[in-house]
């Protein structure tokens, strides 16, 4: 019910309409003053006392002018502050949250696409590779994993362009390995390669494979049919002779290298410098997507050499067959020395086994049991590193890895007989934890952004209802103390408690091992998210409620407010869920789902509108509440993005720099995960020692 002073208070504050909060504040102050004045005024009835108070107040127009003059400066800077909040703070928070979350999402998507590209599958969309002037379209597509390999013509053009450079031999080796054998100029091209690197056996082995493919078919290359004995088939004796000559020429050369890792090293230099975990994962993933056509060629060559031995022996060329058999160690040694990745090493073992077993069988056939036994002994020693790893990891070692290693380590630890130290394993384990927390913070940022947009949408509904009640919801400008209370209780305290719990040694420093505390860490992050959302809303709502009461705005009592909150909140959150569902439906391109959710969203809107109209006497309060909650969420987003994100990013970079097991560091010339490089080096040492002993 209006007081007798309402009209006067409205008149006096008429000039302050541009700042609804200030106007309500001054109006409430004038009303309180008039009520006090009426209490002490002369008169026998309340009406007389009220009239006396109004009379003593003076001319309202004059007072209004003086109040406007006194508040003009304050209104100006408050208007600027509101504009800054609405036009800068809220958009800034949304942009910051979306940019940070999308940044990580896009990086993860790159890894996903690179993984999809494994096995030559087509990527769904181009990755963000740099476009360099020299790149032909097919090479760029290759880098983006849109095709399995670059066209050989492009690779050769690249070599031509860099012919004078020291690395040019690398580019030609890549080209030679990819060159299809049905090319007419195959032999000439191999000779070009040989002239570039006369001491590299690569081109001789490739040429041997080329000749022998046309010359014969080894029995081990055929599929055995029931009741049919497999036989080596000779098509062209001259070509077989040429193939054997190239093979033997190769085995006499000082080294063998297909330069695949060198090429990969060159290739990854084209990529942006890796910074975050996803970059390194991407970096490692694209290293895993390289095709090695030369490895398949080596296996075929090994099978054909076995066939050649048998064909030579059967043709009465025992000496030539023995020469081939004796060469197995040089061949195995070449492949082993040239292997820089595990896949190369495994192929070297397979090829060495084929030729060594064929050699031993040949010695048996010639009655040279001693040589056969020597060959088998050498082969067993050569195979020993791999055979050892066929056995299960000892339980103590397994427990050690589980206790101190990261989740990824068992996957990436083939050389488990050389266990890394606890200190070596710590950074990767720490990194996993940081990554989980980063995902948690990103999730929180995007949820807060969703809440911000939701609260602005709800404010619009209440605004429409308030207009019917002839009032205008406003953006409340809280005092710094009130704002600090909301942010302190809502964000700083929960996040600070979490940080203290997980980071401060005196309180409860966290053992970073997701295997043991992963579920707990996820639960903690969930709890943190819930507490932040709940506390922000609770304290902000309390602040707005108190302020609205000060301003004499109609506010529901506690019980009524709870009932309205439950009803309106339920409708609001159904709408929010529908929006999220729409986003998901759009991603998965489900038209029926999209239609259902759109309908749900429209129905939610209609329901909410009806509710707001029914409660229009509180619309000024609810409109102001929702309007004022948005900047609170914005401040929370910016605060989290400005503190937790840099801290986590810094920790992530530190852990990545410190990790010497799983993270390849391109600036140190590393292409493989260091643990793989270490494994390869360790195996090679043992395998080469086995070949030299005999």
């Amino acid at each position: 019910m209006d007081s007798p002073f309402t009209h006067l208070a409205d008149q006096v504050t008429d000039g302050l309409t541009a700042d609804p909060e200030l106007r309500l504040d001054v109006r409430a102050e004038i009303l309180a003053h008039l009520e006090d004045a009426a209490e002490h005024a002369d008169g026998t009835t309340p009406e007389e006392r009220a009239a006396a108070a109004i009379h003593a107040f003076g001319a309202p127009v004059e007072v209004a002018a003086q109040l406007l003059d006194a508040n003009a400066r304050r209104m100006a800077w408050r208007a600027r502050l509101r504009l800054l909040t609405s036009a800068a703070l809220i958009p800034l928070a949304v942009v910051v949250a979306v940019a940070l979350v999308y940044g990580r999402f896009a990086r993860a998507q790159n890894v996903n696409m690179a993984l999809t590209g494994l096995g030559g599958a087509q990527s769904a969309a181009p990755l963000h590779f740099p476009e360099l002037p020299w790149m032909t379209s097919s090479y760029a597509e290759y880098l983006r994993r849109q095709q399995a390999n670059p066209e050989p013509v492009d690779t050769r053009a690249y070599w031509e362009k860099h012919r004078g450079e020291p690395e040019s031999a690398i580019y030609f080796a890549v080209y030679a390995c990819q060159l299809p054998r049905d090319r007419e100029d195959y032999v000439n091209e191999m000779r070009v390669g040989e002239s570039l690197e006369p001491e590299n056996a690569l081109y001789n082995y490739l040429l041997a494979g080329y000749y022998l493919q046309k010359a014969m078919l080894a029995q081990s290359e055929q599929v055995k049919k029931k009741g049919e004995a497999l036989r080596d088939v000779l098509y062209d004796a001259r070509l077989m002779e040429l193939g054997i000559a190239e093979y033997l020429k190769g085995t006499r050369k000082p080294y063998y290298s297909d330069h695949s890792l060198d090429a990969q090293r060159q290739r990854v230099l084209l990529l942006p410098k890796p910074v975050l975990t996803e970059d390194y994962l991407f970096y490692t993933t694209i290293n895993s997507t390289i095709d090695f056509p030369q490895l398949a060629a080596q296996r075929t060559l090994a099978r054909k050499i076995g066939g050649c031995m048998r064909l030579l022996a059967a043709g009465g060329h025992a000496d030539e067959a023995r020469v081939l058999a004796h060469a197995w160690k040089r061949y195995a040694s070449h492949l082993t020395t040239g292997a820089e990745t595990l896949i190369h090493l495994l192929v070297a073992i397979a090829c060495a086994n084929i030729v060594a077993n064929e050699s031993a069988l040949l010695y048996d056939a010639f009655g040279q049991e001693g040589l056969a036994a020597d060959t088998r002994r050498a082969l067993a020693a050569f195979n020993a590193p791999k055979e050892k790893r066929k056995k299960d990891m000892p339980p103590a070692d397994r427990a050690y890895i589980r206790r101190y290693g990261s989740l990824l380590l068992p996957v990436s630890l083939p050389a488990y007989d050389v266990l890394p130290s606890v200190a070596e394993m710590a950074p990767a384990r720490h990194l996993e934890h940081i990554w989980l927390e980063t995902v948690g913070v990103n999730w929180l940022l995007i949820t807060l952004t969703g809440m911000l947009l939701l609260t602005l949408t709800l404010a619009a509904f209440w605004y429409a209802a308030a207009r019917r009640a002839k009032s205008v919801p406003f953006l409340l400008l809280p005092s710094w103390r009130a704002l600090a209370r909301v942010i302190g209780w809502g964000v700083v305290l929960p996040a600070g408690s979490y940080v203290c719990l997980t980071r401060l040694p005196l309180i409860g420093v966290r053992e970073y091992n997701l295997l043991f505390i992963g579920p707990l860490a996820i639960l903690e992050l969930f709890a943190l998210l819930w507490v932040i959302l709940y506390q922000c809303h609770r304290w902000a709502a309390r602040m707005v409620h108190d302020r609205c009461r000060e301003l004499a705005v109609a506010v529901p009592d506690g019980k009524e407010e709870r009932r309205i909150a439950v009803q309106a909140g339920a409708v609001g959150y159904v709408g929010f869920a529908a929006v999220i569902g729409l986003a998901i439906a759009t991603i998965f391109a489900q038209a029926w789902l999209w239609a259902c959710l759109s309908l749900a969203l429209v129905l939610t809107g209609i329901l909410y509108r009806r509710k707001t109209l029914a409660l229009r006497h509180y619309a000024l309060y609810y409109g102001t509440l929702h309007r004022s909650l948005a900047p609170i969420y914005a401040v929370a987003i910016i605060l989290l993005a400005g503190t937790a994100q840099p801290y986590l990013l810094q920790s992530e970079r530190q852990a990545l720099r410190a990790d010497t097991l799983l993270t390849p560091h391109p600036d140190r010339g590393e292409v493989l995960a260091p643990i793989e490089a270490r494994t390869v080096a360790h195996w090679k040492q043992e395998m080469l020692a086995a070949l030299e002993d005999r």
């Binding site: 102050e29 003053h33 107040f57």
Partner: protein, 117 residues
């Protein structure tokens, strides 16, 4: 001594700063205190008080806060801020100098004109 322009026209701000230095008060209370202490010589009006209070609030000299009074009635109390507290003595000194100057101007014997018997 140069005086603030306001002081030459109205001592209201100085009075407000002094009164609020004593304790936090709301508008009607200030008017009552002024009237009481001056035995009704000063009859301040709302049009005099509130614009001045708001000016001082905008300048950061005083800060308003809504509080519930003895019978639960909510009123806006004004109190000096740190900036305002630092200003009190200066304002009182200024007023003493202004008052002395006014006394000298209004009540000192005239110079340059001999007093006639």
């Amino acid at each position: 001594m140069p005086f603030t322009a306001d002081l030459q026209f109205s001592p209201v701000e100085t009075v407000l700063v002094k009164l609020l230095h004593e304790r936090a008060m709301y508008g009607y209370e200030i008017i009552k205190v002024v009237n009481d202490r001056t035995d009704g010589a000063f009859q301040w009006k709302e049009g005099t008080l509130y614009p001045c209070l708001h000016r001082l609030e905008t300048a950061g000299v005083i800060a308003g806060e809504w509080r519930a009074g003895a019978f639960g009635k909510r009123r806006k109390y004004y109190a000096l801020t740190g900036k305002g507290a630092a200003l009190v003595q200066a304002r009182l000194d200024e007023w003493a100098a202004f008052s002395a100057a006014m006394d000298a101007l209004l009540f000192a014997p005239e110079r340059g004109h001999p007093v006639r018997a």
